[in-house]
Structure formats: structure tokens, C-alpha cells
Symmetry: D2
Subunit: 367 residues, 4 copies
């Protein structure tokens, strides 16, 4: 069954394998008339690109996006925005080592079981390369959110057990330090841990955190399409994510109600606010006007260079050595992926919300 489409009013459909001729995305339902250029999108894609630092793989991917439809004379037309990224060196690789066996921690075995065979070239459809398409679509959504005054601040909050100290929060480090950690001390510690892992031919996981400021109260739908539920789907669908939290997440489960409830008060401008934000900006599945706070925990990269026990597709035991260079950690590159998935989710919910009140529907159609 189809599973490559996300969203209700704003629909994202990604396609492509890591080693086919190209990957791409179709963004349908985006409002007409917003200025959009390939540069707007390229900036986001570049944030996902493997860097030159020791943190990420050295694979050469220029990831140049091309807009094929949905933009005319520099503005979105309201019809599908099709974006494509060519896979540059997709013929060169040697997959003889992995084509007949199942890499632990990867989707090789499960795709084989589902489909009867698989595209073994670098994971095919299950490769994290697919997330570049989400970034391209998310960049478009993020641009409109930005015009509406909504600020998405996403960063690496943990690498392994190195967690940022929020009292040292320095936003300038995001995008400028290879870890994308907004805490200079933790960032250096994390870098050392990553280097240690690399030398041990091992890998490490971590956590991405996001704070979305400026979303008005009232966004999200009741019951199954609650904003927290759709954010959870959005983030859990990112490769390697194993846990997703909203607000204080599991820490809320450790507190008493009197300490976890966020008290309401009225500020000097007569605006109703909350004293605290344990809820992470969502109550009953609907935004409350506070920062929306999300966290996504990533497992360590499954591709490691040391010997691993596995089997061939016929069941024969095999000691697997995965060659080539792989990221010892995916978390820093995944920051922009999480940000983009949340941008798409939030914008979709905001578009959906426009018809929540009959009076707004009537007002809309009266002018």
C-alpha cells in the first residue's frame, strides 16, 4: 500500500531510491502566490549535506535541487510543486558485499520479507537519502511559516549521553558547529565522543530537540489528528528515530499533577499565558500559544565497520564487514530533517484550522 504521502491539505509525496537516477518530492496543496526559488530550498538541503568535518561521511553529494513545476514567474501557483535531486554517482558503488545478506539494524530483511526482493544499492528506498526530499518540501513550508512570524529552532540536544546544558544555550552554534549543539561545552565533549566512536569503528545516537515559537493557540484537530499525534508520526517516520516526546515528555510521567500542570495567568497586556510550559505548547492535542517543544531520540547508525554477525538471504551465517565511510552519528544531519517534518505538520494543521469556526467561513466568503 502507498505510504509515501504525508499530510491532509498540504500533501507531500516523496519518491526515489538512494542509488537510482534521482530522488524527488511532490508538494501539493501549497497556497498560491508565495515567492519561491531554488535557493530558498537549497539552503535547507545544504544544512543536511554531509560536511567536511569529522562528524559526517565524506561521500560526495552536491544535492542540487531543481524545481520542475508549481512555480511560475517566481511564485507558487497553488498546483503541485515538483522538486528533483539527481543522484550523482549512482553507478560507481560496489554492493557485492551486502546484496546477498541482511545488515543488522537496517531494513534489508524487512523489505525482502515484504516485497520478495529488494533494491540492495545502499538501502534503496529505505535509505536516509529519502529524507532530502522531506527537507526540500519542508523548506517551502518553513518559508511561509517564517512570513507568519513562526520561528523553528531545532538542534542536537544530546549525542550519546552528552546532553546540552540549557543554561548555556547559544543559538549561534546551530549550523556553525559540526554537532549542531547549542552549548559550546557539550558540543566539544560530543565531538570527542564521536571521534572516539569512529576510531572504535562504532557509532552513537542522540536526541534532536525543537522549539516552535509563534504558533497561535487553536491549531490541531481533536482525537486522532491531534497536533501532538501528527507530530509524533512525522518525527517517528524519520529514519533511526525510536522515541518521540512532546514538552517534558516522559519527565511529566515522573511528576505529580500539582507540579506538572501549567497554571494560567493574565499578563500586563491582558493576554492569557501559562506560568510554565511542561505541556510543550499542546493541550488536548491543540496548540495553546506557548512554544511547541518536541524531542526525537535517534538510535546509533547501524552501519559500522567492525565485524557483525548476520545471515545471507538463504540463511547461511556470515560475518559482515561494512566497508566505505559512514557517519558515526546521524543526529547533526537529522536536525534539519526533524525541523522540516515539523514545519510541514504545523503548516498543514494551520491551513486545516482556517475552517474551524463558522464565523470565519462566513467572513471569508463575504469579501
Amino acid at each position: 500500500m502507498a505510504g509515501s504521502t504525508f499530510g491532509k491539505i498540504l500533501k507531500v509525496t516523496t519518491w526515489g531510491e538512494s542509488h537510482g537516477p534521482a530522488i524527488g518530492v511532490v508538494l501539493d496543496g501549497f497556497p498560491a502566490g508565495m515567492e519561491l526559488s531554488e535557493e530558498d530550498i537549497q539552503i535547507y538541503l545544504d544544512r543536511r549535506k554531509p560536511g567536511t568535518s569529522s562528524v559526517t561521511t565524506q561521500r560526495k553529494e552536491s544535492d542540487t535541487v531543481q524545481i520542475l513545476s508549481g512555480v511560475f514567474e517566481g511564485k507558487t501557483t497553488g498546483t503541485p510543486i515538483s522538486m528533483m535531486i539527481r543522484n550523482e554517482d549512482h553507478h560507481s558503488a560496489d554492493y557485492s558485499e551486502i546484496m546477498n545478506c541482511y545488515r543488522p539494524g537496517h531494513a534489508d530483511y524487512t523489505y525482502d520479507q515484504k516485497y520478495g526482493f529488494r533494491d540492495y544499492r545502499g538501502g534503496g528506498r529505505s535509505s536516509a537519502r529519502e529524507t532530502a526530499c522531506r527537507v526540500a518540501a519542508g523548506a517551502v513550508a518553513a518559508k511561509l511559516l517564517k512570513v507568519m512570524g513562526i520561528d523553528l529552532c531545532f538542534y542536537t540536544a544530546a549525542i550519546g549521553d552528552v546532553v546540552i546544558d540549557r543554561s548555556r544555550f547559544d543559538r549561534a552554534l546551530i549550523g556553525n558547529h559540526p554537532t549542531n549543539m547549542p552549548d559550546a561545552v557539550a558540543a566539544e565533549e560530543a565531538l570527542a565522543l564521536i571521534e572516539e566512536m569512529r576510531q572504535a569503528q562504532d557509532s552513537v545516537g542522540g536526541m534532536v530537540e525543537g522549539r516552535i515559537r509563534g504558533v497561535p493557540a487553536g491549531i490541531g484537530d481533536p482525537v486522532f489528528d491531534r497536533l501532538d499525534a501528527t507530530l509524533a508520526q512525522a518525527l517517528m517516520s524519520v529514519n533511526a528515530v525510536k522515541e518521540v516526546g512532546i514538552g517534558d515528555g516522559l519527565f511529566s510521567s515522573l511528576r505529580s499533577g500539582s507540579h506538572n500542570n501549567d497554571a494560567f495567568y493574565t499578563d500586563e497586556d491582558g493576554i492569557i499565558r501559562k506560568r510554565t510550559n511542561h505541556a510543550g505548547g499542546i493541550l488536548g492535542g491543540i496548540s495553546d500559544g506557548s512554544d511547541i517543544v518536541v524531542s526525537a531520540y535517534f538510535k546509533p547508525t547501524p552501519s559500522i565497520a567492525q565485524a557483525q554477525e548476520t545471515v545471507e538471504t538463504d540463511g547461511t551465517p556470515k560475518a559482515l564487514f561494512i566497508h566505505g565511510r559512514h557517519d558515526p552519528v546521524v543526529v547533526p544531519r537529522a536536525v534539519v530533517v526533524c525541523e522540516c517534518m515539523c514545519a510541514l505538520t504545523i503548516l498543514d494543521a494551520m491551513l486545516a484550522n482556517m475552517s474551524a469556526k463558522a464565523e470565519n467561513v462566513l467572513r471569508f466568503y463575504q469579501h
Copy 2:
């Protein structure tokens, strides 16, 4: 926008407010020909019912389900199964205390912001009473899963900071101890904590864990509709859930790849298995044949009897005292809700999977 429908092939639509005449659910897309009676469903609803123990509220809800359609001569017909539960004492309550103010931790404020007004009777649509409808639908799905040999084992794994010791796992306690904790020692400890909270006019959260055994490898769809992503949506959509994990969840983020990867091997029967199950039975969003393991963290019940700071709907400060009896913890009652949401998610994915291979489509239409 509509948000009360869940699922793709198997669609669940719930309706109803906590204090309207009734609540209900329509389950569409369920296969024809399975025997189904109201008793099958009532068993599940009774597991959610507030008990007589000190753990749960004393509110009298008989929650008797009535099947209104979709079953003929004792079997499902393939057409929508409509189930209704009357709200028995929906006229009696007094809401003068809360109708004009926003209860902290509840959806009062956000519904008001979204819709311009709200049904203030016990939370209306945002009440956890809605989850009874999910249980009714989930009971139907669970019955078919059971025939297929799939076992869903859900339980309370933590109340506050009292966590079960899995080495003392005793399944018989689930459903028989008021906490639904499968560890006799932790269960008693948790009971004491709950009692302490009640006396302090406070509340506490916890964690529900689930293990789903017998799901074949290959279930789930790539990219956005990954099995872990839809399970995350399903669980996060349950009232009070703030974090959802798959397999080892966040603990995976603390390990190295060499310790987190699950090695494959071939057992004596020639079946490919995994040495460990850190992944929780899902790789690349698709089931791998191991137990599917999920966890859902709940915040403490927001309704507490002690004084809370809040505001009236016009912004006037108010000290709120919530009267009536409320559960000091929702986790034990939420076990069956989580189980039912997962049953619906898994069955939907299994139905969707039937057309994954062309050879299966051809075989199906050849006889």
C-alpha cells in the same frame, strides 16, 4: 477539519461528548464473516471501566455497548460496524465551577481558542471518555488478530517512578491487580504511591508498555506510514500521553551501534531470527517478526482537588478547586486503550500488506 477518523483500510471514526446522550464509534472496512457479539466488546470495555478499588474514580459508568449495524446473524457483514454507549447520568452534574474558567492541564483553553466556545461539561469532546469508543473498535480488531495467533500483552510498566522489574514479570496480575502492573512488588509499591497522592489531593503519571507477539515480518509501509510512525500517532493520540517509544526507545540513543544492532542468525528450524530485540520488532518501519514493543508515557491526571491558579475566560484570575472524585492516576485504565489503538493499527497494516506483492495479487484472483 475532521480529526476523528483513524486508519486507511480499516477506518475508525469516534463521536460523542462525555456528557451528551451517548458516545459511539463507526468501524468501517472490517472484513466480513467474523463472529462478533456485544460480549466480545464488553469484555474490553469492562477492562477500562473505573473499578471499585482506590485507584480509580467512583463515578458510576456501566458503559454498556450496543451494536447498531454491521453484524448480521452473529457475523460481521463487511459494512460499517456502528457501536454506541449511552451516557447514563449525563444530566446530573454541576459545572458552574468550571464552565467559565480554564482548568490547568486540560483542553478547555485550547478548544475555546479553536472553536470560539466549548462544551464545558466534563471536557466534552476532549474528555478521556472518548477512549471508550476506541476500546470498542479495538476489541473487534483484537478478536481477529487473536484468531491469527497474534497476542497483545499490555500493562502498566511504571507509576510515577515506581517501575516494574521485568525479572519478576507475572502476567496473571494484569487485569487482576488494580494497577495492572505485572510485578507483585512494584504493584504494591505503586498502590501505596497512588494512595499517598490521593491523600495529598494530587495525582501521578506513569507508563504503559505493550508487547505484540506473532506479527509476521513485512507489515508496515515505507516512509510516512511506517509501522512505528503509525503506532506513534495512535499512542500519542491517547489522552495524557506525552512520549512514545518503540523497542528500547530512548535507551537506544545512549548505546553504541555495536551494542544496539540486533544480530541475525538462523535457528535450528532454519528460520532467520535476531539475537536481541533492541529494535522492538520494527526495522525501517516494517515488522521483522520479533515482538513489537511499544511504550507510552502518561502525564499525571490534571484534575486535582487542591487549589490551582488559573483565569476565567475573560482573563480574571481565579483560584480553582476541582470538586468531585477524580482518578489520582489514569495509567491502569489506559492500558486497554493503548492495547486497542495498537490492535487497530496492526490490523490495518496487515490488511494493507495483502497487496504488497504482485504474485499474491495474482494468486488471490486466480482462485
Copy 3:
């Protein structure tokens, strides 16, 4: 697979069999704050009710609707509106004649083939009784459309080969003449034809036409969700409909382009209009501001009292006599069903359209 849900933002889900305890509908995604009472809906249901005239069946159905959720203090809440209609005399009928055979022109055979058995009581789910639920939902949509100044005028345009003469159009006859034909001469002629058919133990078909005035230009989405395509689905999904036209429909296929194109001009108020409306108010799948004109052709009622050749479920030949009273024509009662399906389709498209322009999204979120 589920098939009982219609709409994108405004979702209608119907349930129920003709002879179960009740039928019903859940309308989700309807904007909050519109006044709504059971009387608003009952008026529409009464238009569908079998009358006392010779045109329709004498079956006693009071079809009293009950709102179970989604309305609070007389206004829609934005959450699912659940409506139920009890089946009053659902135990009394005798189905021994039809339970083991396939009625020609009915869905008996196809449901049996699909599901392995069927609810043989009066057609079960395939009964036109299900359309009462669409009328209940459509009445809600129609009320909001009316406030927006949109007028839906639906009527019988043909019974068999008796077609109305549009130069004699008399709207007052709709709802007041048993045929619902807005032409006094044709209406009487049609009545005679129906009586003739009744006496011959036969039945006759016809055509429902609808004109929807006041829909602004710009409603509908490109490509697959074109307004004409969704109207076609909506109307073709009504029992007994075999053909659906938009505007001049098939007559357009008989004209040359120079006679079929609707010329644009600017009227004295500076508004761009069309000289003619062959297109029926839709160009490229999007409304053009002219009247939206639809037509739906109905086959004759398949239930006729004369002997019919058929087979039993095991293939044994059988001469079938269908007892009981049946409508010799369904068209007059189907008028309100078509009207309601179009109301739901148009309102859904109008809600969807609110986010078509980025400038409207920005304006919405600036106040």
C-alpha cells in the same frame, strides 16, 4: 475496504442497514458555532419520506432524527455531529421469499460475491434507506450554504420520457407536487405514467436536475478533485443513478466549439460574466461563478411485482415475485438526496478553498 466515508475537510460517514435497529451518520469537520437543531434536519428528511400519494411506497417510516453529539447549547461545536434514525418496524417483515435468491437489478448477488453472505433484510446496507443519512448530513451543510447566500434548487426533470419544459418552470411545485416536477403540465403527465406503470406492476426511471446559485468563482481543485469530478462521484454514488452530467452534459458533445463556448463579457457593474452557461458553472474543474448545473439519471426501480427470472443462491432457477408495496419510481424522493450530496460536496470544496492563496492564509493569521 472502507467505503462509507465521503469528503476531505468535511467528512461524512454513514452506517446502518435498512432493517437493523437504526441507521446513522457522523459528520466530522463541520465548522463550529452554527445554530443547529433537529428541526433543521427533519425538514430535509421529511422531503425524502414516502408520501401518502400514489407516487411512493406506503411503508410507514417516520424517520425521526436524533442528534447525539456535536451540538451544544444549540450550536455546532466543531466536533463530530452524530445523528441517528431509528428503524421502527424492523422486526416485522418476512424475507423468506428473497433471502435465498438474487433479485434482478439489486445488489444481492454482488454483496454475496464480495462478502460471502449478505444481510437479506430489505437489501441491508445496499438499501436506499441509507440515503436518509446523507440527507441528514446534507441538511447541515445546506444550512451553512444558505447563510452564505447559496441557493440549491433541485427537482425532477424527467420521469421516463416525460421531460419538463423549462419555459414553464414553476419552482413552487417542487415539494408540493408528488413528482417534484416544476412544470405543471409535465407533472400531471408524469403522474399518469407512474399510475400506468403501477397498474402494469412495473416501474419507471427519470432524471433529477439541480441548479446551485451563488457559489463564487474559484471553488474546486485541479485534476482529480475537480468540482465536476467530485460532484460526479457524489451523484453516481446515489442508489439507482446510472449517468451524471454537468451543464449541458452530453448535449455539449453534439455541438461545435463555436456554439458551445460561453463568451465572457463585462456587465454594467464591471463584473465579468458569461453570455451563456453551457459549461454548467464549471471550467477546468473550478467554479466560474455561474449557476452550477448537474443532472443525474435514474434507472427504474428494480423491485417490481411481476414475475421475474432469477436464480437461487445455489443456482437453481426461480420465478421471483416481489411482494409488498414498492415505489414505481424513486426519482421524486431522490431529489433531496441529490441536493444533499451536492451541498456536502460544494461546502467541502469551499472549506478547502480557504487556503488556496498565500495572501489569504497570511491575512487569516494576522488578526
Copy 4:
């Protein structure tokens, strides 16, 4: 809102404007393991291509399809099949004549009203060029249907008032005569009519008919997703279609029930059949095993070379002359488009049907 996606299990998403760099389609949910090459698709695209005959436009479009994903080692992978067609001469055209005015019968005005501006290059998204993408996707579906023994026979049944005589039906003419009419006499008559229209700088419409043989009984879902309703949406969504019929369509509305009902009988092989097929193979929205018969009526091409009254975008009156060569009739080229839309619809319904019976679900998961 998004409108460029069609289907439930098998999802088709098209993108692209007539004069952008490319158009394309993503087909998601297609079963894995079917052999597929670009040649399979090109054959269908070539059937849609403007020919060298006098019937169609002389525009040079090679319409070469490229598969970008979803096929590996010659077989479908189960993941999205992305196909792209480059627009070859998209820079050359001169649109100064139409960019500031509304062509009668086109979507210029309605897109402008909806989106605030439009891509005026050849209709942009509203161009019939988009249907090439539907053909590419439909070719893939048709291939699997063919393996299942399902035969789709689509042809031109009428051009203007020249209708085929079914007693002279000659399938060999389809694809070989420029009209695609399977009746040699009518085909020549139609050709003469088309030539007459061309010389008069005018255009003409017509009707496409399709017969789908071999669909087993039981396909389609009840109520809104009836097979006839989805076929109606599918066909009405094709550019220029104004009316859609199933089986005898409107002719059924002119008959009495005793003449329109299809009697059931058991043939010599013990198979239940119908004596006639007025229903067009669908009863109650579900296939009955007979040929599925559909008809789609097309309006005449709106682009005609003679002077037309219209207005500029600011309302100024204008006499429009559309230059360039345009098809005086679109019907022959639309045959394959209708066929492909039906192939997609039927296959989607067949995939959905696999889970209709619980016994089939159980059987599927037992081996």
C-alpha cells in the same frame, strides 16, 4: 488544497504544467515484483500522441517517458514509481495573445479567480497535457490487469452526432484509424465531419466508450466508494468530459423496470450469469462479473481559430483569435486517457477487495 492525487491503495499523483520543463507522475502502492520497462509505458503514451493525420494537432511532442524510481532489475519494487516526461519545446511559444485575456471554454478565468494569477503558457496545469501522466500510470496498472486476464477495450463511439453502429464493430480499427472508431463506415463519416469543422475553424466533441471484460464479481465498495462512483470521478476528471454513464446510462431512465432489470440464470457450466447487461456490469456499486461498460461525453475543443468574444483580465472587451494549430476534436486522443483512468480505478478496487472477507485474511496469513 491538494487535488492531484487519486486512489486509495494505489495512489497516483501527477504534477507539471504544459510548458514547464517537465511533467510527471508518482504511482505509489503498486505491488512489487511485476516486470516493467519504459517500453511498456511508451506504447500507451504513443497512443495518446498527436498523430500525423488531419485529426490531431501538428505540435511536435515526442513524449518520451523516463522511469526514475520504483523499478529495480526490471521489476517493480513496491515503492513509488516515478515517471517523467520532458516538455521539449517549452520555451518557444508566444503567449502574448492570451496571457492577458480569458479564453472561452478554458480554465483561464477560474484559475485566476482561485489562485490570484495563473500560468498562462498553454493552460499551465489545466492543460490536457497533464493527462499524459495519467496514461503513464495507467499503463502500469493495465499491465497487471492484463496478466489477470482483464481486457480493456476503449474506443471512440461518437464524434459530434456520428455514432458507431455496434453491429459493425471492428476492433482492429481502434488504434489504426485516426478516429479510433471501431466501425469503418462511421469512422469515415466522422473524418469528413472533422475536416469540415477544421475548415470552418471550428471544433466538435464526441463520446468515448469502454468495455472492461474479466473483472470478477465483488469488486467495489459500498456507498460512497462504489465502483461506478469512483469510475465517474475518474472519467469526469478528464479534461473536457461533461457527462459520464455506466452501462446503458441515461437510456435506462427511459425504460420500464421489467425491461431494464437483467435476469439471472445459470449457464451449462453452473455459473450464474445475466441474460442482459443493461447495468453495465455493476449492481449496488459492486461488479457483477459481466462486462463493465462506461461512457464519457466530451465537449468540443474550446480552442478555435475563429473570432470569439471575451474580456481581458481587467474586464476590457476583446475579440480573441487563437492562433496556432489545435485539434478540431480531442476525442480520439482521449480514448487511451479514459482507458488508463479506468485501469487505475479497477486495479485499486481489486487491491482493496483482497481484505473484504475475514476468511481470505486468515488464509493469507496462514501460509
